[in-house]
Symmetry: D2
Subunit: 406 residues, 4 copies
């Protein structure tokens, strides 16, 4: 059912085997021009080889886009999410989810720039990423055409894929010939791994799967104490050194990696309806998440804090499911951002063999009042007798209930 | 404004200095009989000395109640809360909150048994515990009289309290003469510490404050791997050994203690309106919480799991604020418990130097389907083309929006 | 892509033109036996003609199922929903949504009984009903095959449908030859109308579309006062006369019809992503909804009532979207039902020219206390001074905020 | 326990008997200057008599404040609340609640202007208004002193109050001598009545209690059709005539009054813990509420609409409880307001004998697409086959559940 009207398609292109096959397959199947877009989101790979490969595949030089999006990624995606304290299913820091909307947005920008009528990606038909990409595409360009090769083609086994590659002069590195024991996704926030050796949720994740953190057992025997400064909800400095968002996250990643922080073995519920087991490494993000909670503890009012906690699971679900560009995510973000005006101050944390704990927090906007809370004489800051009335009226409905139901 | 009509009052009596002073003060001020109730909730203190002290203070032997409530505490309070994955303000396992309703309930039972017209407790007027005790009293016995000495008397400084004690032959141990550097509460689930040396939230918690866990740096250099078995949402065995709820929690406490697990330094929002800084040690509870999430990951449907996550902050807030005996807590519990019918299976965890991580989970009722999720050929278990329609209809409203707002 | 392995299919069969065409189409296309199931849900049509038509189409007598499900419908579906005070998008009483799960359930029961391997329905590919039917089928019989002719066949215009009917000796009544000006669905709870003349949401619904209620302008000039008795959240009597659920709803429908009650012109959001405009008539249900709120007002505690109000939109959305047979709907139902134990008593209502208002409510379990609330001397039932402390502590966090942000 | 340090107090002064007594009582008891503040919120009373009475009571001319706040009231309080579709306990339009924060805010402004150290109001110790006033005071001026005479004095019976008035040359009108059969509060949004003859929730509200609306039975026999135009969520015109917020609400009040619209007999749950029965008349507000829902139906995306519906009960509770000036109300408002950017268009409504119904809505920003939803051929706007995949993936988790639990 291929659409013969497609002339030009913008492909999210990593330069790896799969998207190289897709590139060629698109050219052949749709008889169309392919424009490649390769983003640096901090995945830690060189991108220039992608340019060469695209050129070799016949992509015009002016149709090869390679962008460093690291700062935009952290500033406009990771940070807003951190303000929300977002955790999917109580534990997952959403490292893959948060990268997809930015890629989709940039792909659509390029599609407009080069006058393309379609976009394409390399996500499979079983995962969440196809949804995240495509909801982004459709929200930003409602009439764009979307090509999802993994849902269309018949290259459904690795063998067929490699045959196709070889038949089309696509280089296949040695390690790709065999079956990879698991698949990964990486960006500045995290690395995720899933599939194959991870598919039995009872089996422990093998050591060789981890790539972003040292094993906590191999981490230093001495804890490391750091500080993070926040301004209006966003981290701005580590150990007193002001850093841009991407530099700051990279710095925390280094620290987290060294101390084995941020590993997570999770069975999660995909939006497409199945459970999957993944392993995540989010070294800097884990530190950031806890630090943000730490600074909120003294700068956020209870009403705001509890409302945020109640909204968070919904917010995280929206991100996970790919609804970044939706009115309801924006509404929640407006509420969350409104709460962050005074979330400014410093958090001290201790990193040690896989764990990170907050050991202190201070702020020029602290709501914590030693004078009120003290066990010592508070000189009238709080009248304990007020508590009697407070309790009596909170109890009134329970007493009326108790009398009725006695 | 003391109420001259009070004849007999049931006091939550620890045997310590404060409640001993209260005992005497009640007798004097209200000219009434005092009935003492001392509960073993696993706080790790001998209770028989409390009996002697009560006797010495003139309490009739038949008016001295000492109950071992450990099994009831874990089975009927801690376990239901664990089914909810309850965390207050994202982090706190509610160890103090969950103990108060049970004490209140037992006090009311004794009040009925001995025909008392009032109950009393030793919680101060600034804290949450007064609320938790009294909401429990009023819910269960709407017409009971409540005496909260700390809100009434003028023994507002430690010096005055000790003077009163000495004037009334109440033994004051040496270490009580000086100011304790912090105050604590303990039960089988946790130990909390607050006040004095902890009052500046920037200052690190001094080492000597910890009593339930070793410093992670002093914990064994070798991880320990354990398993926990669950049945219908409740832990029933550790390392294959079936244990009663209290024994099981005690066992996990031993494991957690040895590995330095469950320390939390928190600034929290009290129900009475102020922020306070506390330090919590919840060794076994921390393990249990993560293990429960682990078994839910494979046995709970997404719809149930996400609903639980959205309800949790509200549930935790109700417990923290003292509304255990409220219709809304019971409603939430009914929903939560309904979800646990198949939360049965085994979780494997690794304990190491302050951290606990899930490394595997299995269940006869697992919803995880390797056949569906696999990267390999799934033999028709999942049709990837379905995803296209799924995405298209999820995108439809976003596309209509996008067209309008273009 | 028809599945040649299907031997026997249970069709939700109304006996009307569309499902008669489907019956024949299924026989031809799948070369399979068709089993018809016709439910009386109070739609107000005779069902025996359906039997004849099925026989004429070659369905075996033992394969024709005609069931009166009215009592089950009201008792097990409408009433639980009424306990929740469910309104979709603030206004809609979910009359169509609530009928689908029961039909799906019965179809699956029959499929098991006759050893069928598939089920089929006549809902179109644009609406919600296809989702509601099929989610029900799949939840109850995960491996059943589902045939949705409207999404498969090429009889996509009325002309083609009628040609097919005539070619297969399916009687086409005169009024079906032309285009119906709108389409309807009816059951004991409501009648819905949509399409064609209703498609422009600015155009007023023409008078001839209404079938279940008189025009309020034609309703009696004198109000009618009625009472409804509730037991544990469910209506059990009207004007003192005990009635079964279905009889009671029928009685309220008669009353509502006469007074022009329960008309609703709505533009709603379908689960499949588009907006649609519908007109609903829910005469008895509208009365029941308001009466239930009335009895809850005096029998439900605030905590329970507010929690119900917060959960309601989610509950209504689940029903609308077809997730009746889902763990999360059941969890919410468990919470809601838990709250109804004392929702017993009598509500008085006034019906008049399209409006229904509660004018009184009483209950043996009333929580309303004249003694507490009275403007007169309450003899100590409530100490106004308690309010001072109550306010002071509720204000504390706001004052700390105000001081910081001054 | 009167505070001798108070020099000047700003009193919310209506000029009626009660606040006149309070004025005098404050002068005497606190030996302080009283500053009066009388607000025109559209309660429909002349305010100049309040000036005379204040002068007679010895208030300095420059200490008498009489402000017309009608436009501010509707624009900055009623309209934001209407954007939220706020209903307390499913039914109540919050007419009293929404007026209190504005009065409190203005009182605090005056207190600052005249250098007062205290504020005072005439709300009783059993109601919600004391809370609303005082939370407003404390949020805006954390260190202000609050005098609530009804909680302090001993003028607890009407007889004593009148004796005090007569002893202090406060004029007592004839109708005030006897017991009023109920008490009322009024502003441009509504009139509420409670107490005395309304205290038995089974007794029908007597006809003479209503003051703002005709009895529906006496309303015109012919319906009246009106239109309301909205811009960004706010009503801006009636029947095509552009009106300021207060003028518009007044216009709708006239229309509603004539047609007997907006009467509500309610038993509600007060924040202070008891149930109370009230009667509300909100003629224009009832029309506005439904009209706003009407325009949202075509201009708001489903995601935004459902999120709004889920947040609404919490928002309404915050307003009812007096937390207008709280971070969490502001956060919710930020989310709600974000959703209103395109809520622009026209709604047509029919008013008839107590009921108001939407009969049409149109908008330049409509999301309703006849092309997509039509029963006719949609020319590819929607592919019905997409629904199959949509349903299959929505069903996947239910099927996995069904297989497990079979």
């Amino acid at each position: 059912m291929t659409d013969s009207s497609i002339n030009r398609v913008v492909l999210a292109y990593s330069g790896g085997l799969d998207t190289s096959v897709i590139l060629k397959w698109l050219q052949q199947t749709y008889n169309c021009e392919v424009v490649t877009f390769t983003a640096d989101l901090g995945q830690g790979e060189e991108l220039e080889p992608a340019r060469k490969k695209a050129e070799m595949a016949g992509v015009k030089p002016e149709h090869i886009f390679i962008d460093d999006l690291r700062e935009e990624f952290v500033k406009d995606y990771v940070y807003p999410m951190m303000r929300a304290n977002a955790l999917y299913e109580g534990l997952y820091l959403l490292g893959t989810s948060i990268a997809r909307p930015l890629i989709a947005k940039r792909q659509i920008e390029i599609a407009r720039q080069v006058n393309a009528d379609a976009v394409s990606h390399g996500a499979t038909g079983k995962g969440n990423d196809q949804v995240r990409f495509e909801l982004g595409y459709y929200a930003l360009a409602p009439d764009i055409k979307v090509i999802a090769p993994w849902r269309e083609w018949d290259l459904t086994s690795r063998t067929k894929l490699i045959e196709f590659a070889e038949a089309h002069q696509i280089p296949v590195s040695k390690d790709k010939r065999g079956e990879a024991p698991f698949s990964t996704d990486a960006n500045l926030l995290h690395t995720s791994s899933e599939g194959k050796v991870l598919e039995d949720p009872w089996d422990e994740v093998p050591d060789y799967v981890y790539s972003r953190t040292v094993n906590p057992e191999d981490a230093p025997d001495t804890p490391e104490v750091i500080t993070i400064d926040f301004e209006r909800g966003d981290a701005v400095a580590v150990n007193g050194e002001g850093l841009s968002p991407a530099s700051l996250l990279a710095k925390l990643n280094d620290l987290g990696r060294a101390h084995g922080i941020g590993r997570l073995d999770l069975v999660e519920n995909r939006f497409v309806g199945m459970k999957s087991r993944g392993m995540y490494e989010t070294p800097g993000g884990t530190i950031l998440h806890l630090a943000h909670r730490g600074i909120e503890q003294i700068t956020l009012d209870r009403g705001a804090a509890h409302l945020k906690d109640e909204l968070m699971p919904r917010y995280a679900e929206l991100l996970y499911n790919g609804f970044w560009f939706s009115p309801e995510r924006e509404m929640l973000q407006a509420a969350i951002d409104h709460s962050q005006a005074k979330v400014t101050g410093t958090v001290r944390l201790k990193l040690y063999k896989g764990s990170v704990i907050v050991t202190g927090r201070k702020s020029p906007h602290s709501l914590y009042s030693e004078k009120v809370v003290t066990f010592e004489d508070d000189q009238g800051a709080y009248d304990q007798r007020d508590a009697a009335g407070f309790i009596k009226l909170n109890a009134l409905r329970l007493r009326l209930l108790g009398r009725r139901d006695a």
